[in-house]
């Protein structure tokens, strides 16, 4: 993965004349003082000075996998992104993951036609993020695995952005599971964390959606800086 440098809006002033530098510097100083005072006085935020969110763009470079076998429990082992993003949306403002266009369910809608085309009885085995993921529940890359009882085979699809960029058949002994009735989406799963104080300063690194054989329920697993968190999708 690659991360772009924060945009530096002042970097272009290096070649100007001294007077221009002084002028610009003075202007910058004035603006800084003005906005600083404004923030301090709470003109913009009810009296609480806030930091202007830094703009950061994350470019995931993901090696697109081509699965030959699907064991079924791969989603229990999260593919943590090296670029953690704050769980709390307010703290993630200004951070953009390039190509993070789809939530899990959005990406599912893209991947499932491919799976159905492969086998009409295809059922989902698991989904896991391959790229960075933000509090909006969107990732640049999602890995889908399906199983077909009829074919006794598995199928994988990699969704990058909103496009299936890799797909293929793989060996497996797992043939997928029926989806939950109340399948709340990845943003909702993440939202269940940012309201809890223990996650107030946490970062999110990965996510998966998998079937728990023990309780026969679908689970989300979310990789965070506090650890891996799992929750049931009833």
């Amino acid at each position: 993965m690659q991360i772009s440098e924060p945009k530096n809006i002042t970097s272009s002033v290096g070649g100007k004349s001294r007077s221009l530098k002084i002028f610009v510097a003075g202007g910058v100083l004035f603006v800084a003082v003005f906005f600083g005072a404004a923030f301090y006085l709470g003109w913009f935020s009810g009296g609480e000075p806030e930091k202007e969110p830094k703009e950061r763009i994350i470019r995931d470079t993901v090696e697109i996998p081509h699965l030959t076998a699907i064991r079924g429990d791969e989603a229990l082992y999260l593919a943590h992104s090296p670029n953690p993003i704050p769980i709390v949306p307010a703290k993630a403002q200004g951070i953009t993951v390039e190509g993070a266009e789809q939530t899990i369910r959005g990406a599912y809608d893209i991947a499932v036609p491919k799976a159905k085309q492969w086998s009409a009885d295809a059922k989902l085995i698991f989904i896991k993020s391959l790229g960075s993921i933000g509090p909006d529940g969107k990732s640049s890359h999602w890995e889908f695995t399906f199983g077909s009882k009829e074919k006794k085979k598995g199928f994988f699809a990699i969704v990058r952005g909103s496009v299936v960029v890799s797909e293929g058949e793989a060996n497996t002994e797992k043939y997928g599971y029926d989806l939950p009735k109340n399948w709340y989406d990845s943003p909702d799963a993440i939202a269940s964390l940012f309201g809890l104080p223990q996650f107030a300063s946490s970062m999110i690194t990965a996510m998966s959606f998998h079937y728990n054989q023990d309780d026969k329920k679908w689970n989300y697993a979310i990789g965070t800086s506090r650890g891996n968190v799992s929750m049931v999708v009833k």
């Binding site: 429990d73 229990l76 082992y77 909702d188 939202a191 964390l193 809890l196 728990n212 968190v229 929750m231």
Partner: protein, 1204 residues
């Protein structure tokens, strides 16, 4: 009671009832006679008379007009009834005069009229009269409270002119108590005096009249004259049963005092009226929307002052109330939202007395805000009928009034009460007395919203039921975990609109330890998502601003917590609503390879922390409303607390607890075969201790606790102890113990199925019973191919679930180098020092340290000094060593005498022939000695020859120090010799030398005496003094020395060969005993003035002091000591500083003295002699354990002998 008596009794009762009834209907009014207007007279023959109205006429007053007339024609005359007046009675042509008519004579007429005053009358009333000679007229004013009057009259006449006036009226006009009587008499003559009439009186059977007062005496001389009298009287009591009679006394000229009289009975009549009113008691302040059969009054009220009711009363008589129309005048829309108006009545105004409150009529519905109740209630005067209003705070539709609306009831108009008897109705409108409610319209009954129940549509088990303690909701972080609760009830009013459902006017609250309003942020995720008059839907999303978990603070709901406010009115009763905990997610160890989810192992204190600070034996419960601390709360995992799974009553170990986060340890009490189960929490501090079972399942992963042994070699049996090794619930058996799903690895080397050992009769730690792979134990061999070094064990079960790893070291089978090398003589015990001498056969030894269970032996390589090691093993230990074998010895024989050797050792695995490194012995350079080159460092030198006698043996004087020229004495001889090496010594002697012995050794043995008895000593110089010899005798002797290697040498060395010496002739010796006193102590203190120096002089001694021998030396010491009462007294004597000898005395007791006396032997003393150099001795005596003491005497007693 006989029949007659019964009849009498019934009759009496009937009479009483009748009397009571009659009394109850008697006009009990009070009539006041006020005044009379001025008399007026007509003109003679006039056509009118105009009496004046009395003063102060008020409406309702009764005006009575009396006209007295003397007609112009005998027995003629008439009066036209004045407008608005009513004739009462009249009598014309009375007086008994016949047709005579003249001055002061003739019949006269009397006319009477009445009118209920309008109140406007004033001035005079012109009355038209006809055939009038002369008339008088007068108007009287009476008043009562009601303005209702009943008038009747009777007439009569007095036809005899005398002083006794008596007019018997022709009829009884019906006089009874309370009536008032106005009367008059007309006479045809003028009055002779102003008071012609006196003593006016009335009599009537059954009546007692009050005082009869004359009102006036009309008197006119107009025309033919006219006169008369008017009077009045109240009726005090009684009821008339006959016609009345008026009497008076006439004065003056009484001839014509005769004429008609009139008797006017005035009675106050009461117009039957039903009066509508209300009590002072205030209405109930609130009623709940939706409730039925609700009263407008407080049903605990006990009287008219507290019970709100309409009242009806009839002032007289009775009537039947046939309907009552009640109008709702509050802000509520009664036509839509109220129903079943019912009226109850009683007559005491006391609702709560359980009296005879009776429903009146039918149940009525509201139409146009009014409900008319039809019924039939006979009301009678003297009673007040209290009408209570009951109604349903709902309609039949049903619809319900909104909270905050007001209800008020009114009998709006007199016509709203109907009676069958036509009695008038008055008093309306009447509105029930103000309620003083909290509604905006405070006078009205305030409608409160009412919550009747709720349904938790997210978790049905928390739905409300009456008196529930398990109802309420969990609050959830985010929309995925919020609960939706549909609140049912009445009167919530219309939807305030999204974003406005959390105002002071309209809101839903949960009031527990604190009050939390469900926030409506106006978004689609609002926590108040729907609102109607009968249903509100709330949610419990903590992501909604204002409803964060922290906003709930100490609020955990309680038995009365769910509150709806509508129209600024809160429900009267909050419903039970408990806020339950909710575990929404689980955090576990995030070490690499550890599955994300509700997975953990049983806790082990030795576990290292995962990157997130948890260990694999800890999990964190994320959620809401856990309570502020663990007090009162618990977490149970798989139905276990920390000590039991059978009847858990406590908690697993809690590491931390907050309202949203609880960290716990997975208890080790969980059964090894119990793999999955619930995570259950009970709220802690500050809560209602409600519970939640996490919707997911906790799986306990395999844990290895120990490997026994923790190291080994390929093929060793390892007992892996732990738990939860069979994640499918069924443990794998052959041939499935080495699959991808189930296997055991040592490092990366997977044990084969054949490596697993059933524990039945298994070796080592696996000697129990059962299969090789159990839930808590696996017995497996270290698989072939396992590299040496650290190879931690890992159990994989059911493909996904792997254990922790526990250290296992695959030992090397290369033996460890030997240590503690040592060399011994061939006895294996006697150590040969480095470079020391050894025999031709030696034992070379070393410690074999065996950390591996392989057979080993010790190799040694022995080389002659000057020859380098070449790796060729000289000798090997005979027995295999398994494990550690200290002092393993290798026998090396055939070593050459006088040759020096160096050697080294190593350990060899006799299975694999792997060897350790060589370790060189002794002073050779460190390591295997291979760098010695041509070693000069000798480990041992072989010595196989006994010591050589380099000097002697010789027999000399006992005092000689060498083999000098001296000779043995008469009784003693000294045998001396010197060997070339250290050796012990022993001599043998006798008076003859043995013969026939095979060797020197045998010869030595055969000699009669040995000195010492066994060989002693060491060194190269040897001497033995033989005593007790016989003078002038030849003795045969041999010497024997044995070196350290037990090499023996004899001298002479040949068999049957002895050395000889001869003692000299016998010598004379004298014995003596002498005593030498020693200075006594000079003080009695314990600090004795010792040591004392003393001299001994032996005159017989030569200057060499060699002719005197001590036989006995005793120091005789005496003294006293005073006991201290504590422990023994010790006397210590020390001669010449050779060492104190202590003598112990028993303590005689405190301050008690004891004399002591000791005989202290010594072996020698210094002594002087003639021409000798001076010498002396010391005696030191100390006394301890005494408070005081002294040495009183000391002396040396010496016995010795000398050679003169």
């Amino acid at each position: 009671m006989n029949v007659v008596k019964r009849k009498i009794f019934v009759l009496c009762v009937a009479v009483l009832v009748i009397l009571a009834f009659s009394v109850s209907h008697e006009a009990m009014a009070a009539i006041t006679y006020n005044s009379a207007g001025a008399l007026a007279y007509s003109a003679s023959g006039g056509t009118s008379v105009a009496p004046a109205y009395p003063a102060s006429i008020a409406a309702g007053d009764l005006l009575v007009l009396v006209i007295g007339m003397k007609p112009s024609t005998a027995n003629g005359g008439s009066v036209t009834t004045p407008g608005g007046w009513t004739p009462i009675t009249s009598l014309t042509g009375a007086g008994g005069y016949g047709v005579t008519l003249g001055a002061d004579t003739g019949n006269t007429n009397v006319f009477t009229f009445y009118k209920v005053a309008a109140g406007t009358e004033s001035g005079s009333l012109t009355v038209t009269i006809a055939t009038n000679g002369v008339s008088w007229g007068q108007i009287y004013r009476l008043s009562n409270a009601t303005g209702s009057w009943d008038i009747a009259g009777a007439t009569g006449s007095d036809i005899v002119g005398n002083t006794t006036v008596s007019i018997a009226m022709g009829t009884n006009p019906g006089v009874t108590a309370g009536d008032y009587i106005l009367g008059a008499m007309v006479i045809p003559t003028d009055v002779t005096t102003p008071a012609q009439f006196s003593v006016e009186a009335l009599t009537q059977t059954g009546i007692t009249f009050g005082a009869v007062t004359e009102t006036s005496e009309p008197d006119s001389t107009t025309g033919n004259d006219i006169g008369g009298v008017t009077y009045r009287a109240a009726v005090s009591s009684g009821t008339a049963s006959a016609a009345p009679t008026f009497t008076a006394t006439a004065g003056g000229t009484v001839t014509n005092v005769r004429g008609p009289g009139v008797f006017i009975r005035v009675r106050e009549t009461i117009v039957p009226t039903v009066t509508v009113s209300k009590t002072a008691g205030a209405k109930i302040t609130t009623r709940n929307s939706g409730d039925t059969s609700q009263y407008a009054h407080d049903t605990t009220c006990t009287g008219a002052s507290t019970c709100a009711a309409f009242t009806l009363s009839i002032n007289t008589g009775s009537d039947t109330v046939t309907s009552v129309k009640v109008t709702e005048t509050g802000t509520v829309n009664a036509s839509n939202d109220l129903s079943n108006l019912t009226l109850y009545y009683d007559t005491d105004g006391n609702w709560a007395d359980a009296g005879a409150e009776t429903q009146y009529g039918t149940v009525a519905s509201f139409t146009s805000e009014a409900a008319t109740v039809s019924g039939s209630l006979a009301v009678s005067s003297g009673n007040t009928y209290y009408f209570y209003v009951r109604f349903d705070v709902k309609s039949g539709t049903p619809t319900y009034p909104a909270g905050g609306t007001g209800i008020d009831f009114q009998i709006a108009a007199n016509g709203d009460v109907t009676v069958s008897g036509g009695t008038g109705i008055s008093g309306a409108p009447q509105t029930l007395t103000a309620a003083g409610s909290t509604c905006a319209t405070t006078a009205q009954i305030c409608v409160k919203p009412q919550v009747t129940g709720y349904t938790n549509s997210t978790e049905g088990g928390l739905t409300y039921s009456g008196g529930c303690s398990g109802c309420g909701a969990r609050i959830g972080p985010g929309s995925a975990f919020r609960h939706a609760i549909v609140i049912d009830g009445y009167g919530f009013g219309s939807d305030p609109g999204l974003g406005s459902r959390d105002t002071a006017t309209n809101k839903v609250e949960i009031a527990g330890g604190a009050t939390t309003m469900l926030a409506d942020d106006g978004s689609g995720n609002t926590n108040v998502s729907a609102w109607s008059n009968t249903q509100i839907t709330i949610r419990t999303d903590t992501n909604i601003t204002g409803n964060a978990d922290t906003d709930f603070g100490a609020n955990f709901g309680d038995s009365a917590a769910l509150r709806v406010t509508a129209g600024s009115q809160a429900v009267a009763s909050d419903l039970p609503f408990y806020i339950f905990p909710q575990v929404t997610s689980i955090t576990n160890c995030n070490s690499g390879g550890f599955p994300a989810g509700a997975f953990a192992r049983e806790y082990n204190a030795g576990d290292a922390a995962c990157p997130n600070g948890l260990t694999d034996g800890q999990i964190e419960l994320n959620g809401t409303r856990f309570g502020s601390g663990s007090s009162g709360g618990w977490v149970q995992l798989l139905g276990c607390d920390v000590t039991t799974c059978t009847t858990p009553s406590g908690s697993v170990t809690i590491d931390s607890w907050s309202n949203t986060l609880v960290r716990v340890r997975v208890p080790t009490i969980i059964g090894d075969s119990n793999y999955t189960g619930n995570i259950e929490i009970q709220q802690g501090a500050g809560s209602n201790n409600k519970r939640h079972i996490y919707s997911g399942t906790l799986r306990v992963l395999p844990r290895i606790i120990s490997n026994t042994p923790a190291n080994g070699i390929v093929g060793d049996t390892i007992q892996i102890l732990g738990d939860h090794f069979c994640q499918t619930g069924t443990c794998p058996v052959s041939p499935n113990r080495s699959s991808s799903a189930d296997n055991v690895k040592f490092g990366s080397t997977q044990a084969l199925d054949a490596d697993f050992l059933a524990q039945t009769g298994g070796p080592g730690a696996c000697n129990g019973s059962g299969a090789a792979w159990n839930h808590g134990e696996i017995c497996v061999k270290v698989p072939s191919g396992t590299p040496t070094g650290s190879q931690p064990t890992l159990v994989t079960s059911n493909t996904t679930y792997t254990s922790n790893t526990i250290v296992f070291t695959r030992d090397s089978t290369v033996p460890s180098s030997p240590a503690s090398l040592a060399q011994y003589l061939d006895d294996g015990v006697t150590s040969i020092s480095i470079g020391g001498a050894g025999t031709s056969t030696v034992e070379l030894a070393a410690n074999i340290t065996g950390s591996v269970s392989v057979p080993t032996k010790l190799n040694v390589e022995v080389k002659v000094i000057g020859t380098a090691f070449d790796g060729i093993v000289t000798a090997t230990s005979t027995s295999n060593c398994t494990g550690t074998c200290n002092n393993t010895q290798v026998t090396v024989s055939g070593l050459s005498n006088a040759s020096s050797y160096h050697w080294r050792a190593r350990v060899i695995n006799t299975n694999t022939y792997e060897t350790s490194a060589w370790v060189a012995f002794g002073a050779n350079p460190a390591g295997d000695g291979s760098t010695d080159g041509s070693p000069a460092n000798i480990d041992l030198t072989v010595d196989t020859v006994g010591p050589s006698f380099t000097t002697g043996p010789c027999a000399v004087s006992p005092t000689a120090s060498s083999c000098d020229a001296s000779s043995p004495t008469d009784i003693q001889a000294q045998v001396r010799w010197v060997t070339d090496e250290s050796a012990n010594e022993q001599i043998a002697w006798g008076t003859s030398c043995p013969t026939g012995q095979a060797s020197a050794s045998a010869t030595f043995t055969a000699l009669a005496n040995k000195q010492p008895a066994s060989p002693t000593g060491s060194g190269t110089t040897h001497a033995q003094v033989i005593s007790g010899l016989t003078a002038a005798t030849t003795y045969y002797y041999m010497a024997r020395s044995v070196d350290a290697l037990s090499n023996v040498s004899y001298y002479p060395s040949s068999a049957n060969s002895c050395n000889t010496f001869t003692t000299v002739a016998a010598t004379t010796r004298i014995m003596k005993t002498s005593e030498f006193f020693i200075q006594q102590a000079t003080t009695t203190s314990q600090a004795q003035a010792f040591p004392k120096t003393f001299d001994i002089f032996l005159a017989e001694s030569n200057t060499s002091r060699d002719n005197v021998t001590f036989d006995s030396i005793i120091l005789d010491i005496s003294g006293t000591a005073r006991g201290d009462g504590s422990g023994d007294i010790t006397i210590a004597a020390n001669v010449n500083g050779t060492g104190a000898v202590s003598y112990t005395l028993s303590d005689p007791g405190s301050d008690k003295s004891v004399n002591w006396h000791i005989a202290h032997p010594v072996s020698s003393l210094n002594y002087d002699c003639p021409s000798c150099s001076d010498t002396s001795n010391t005696l030191d005596v100390t006394v301890t354990g005494a408070t005081a003491g002294t040495v009183t005497r000391a002396k040396a007693i010496i016995t010795y002998h000398y050679t003169p």
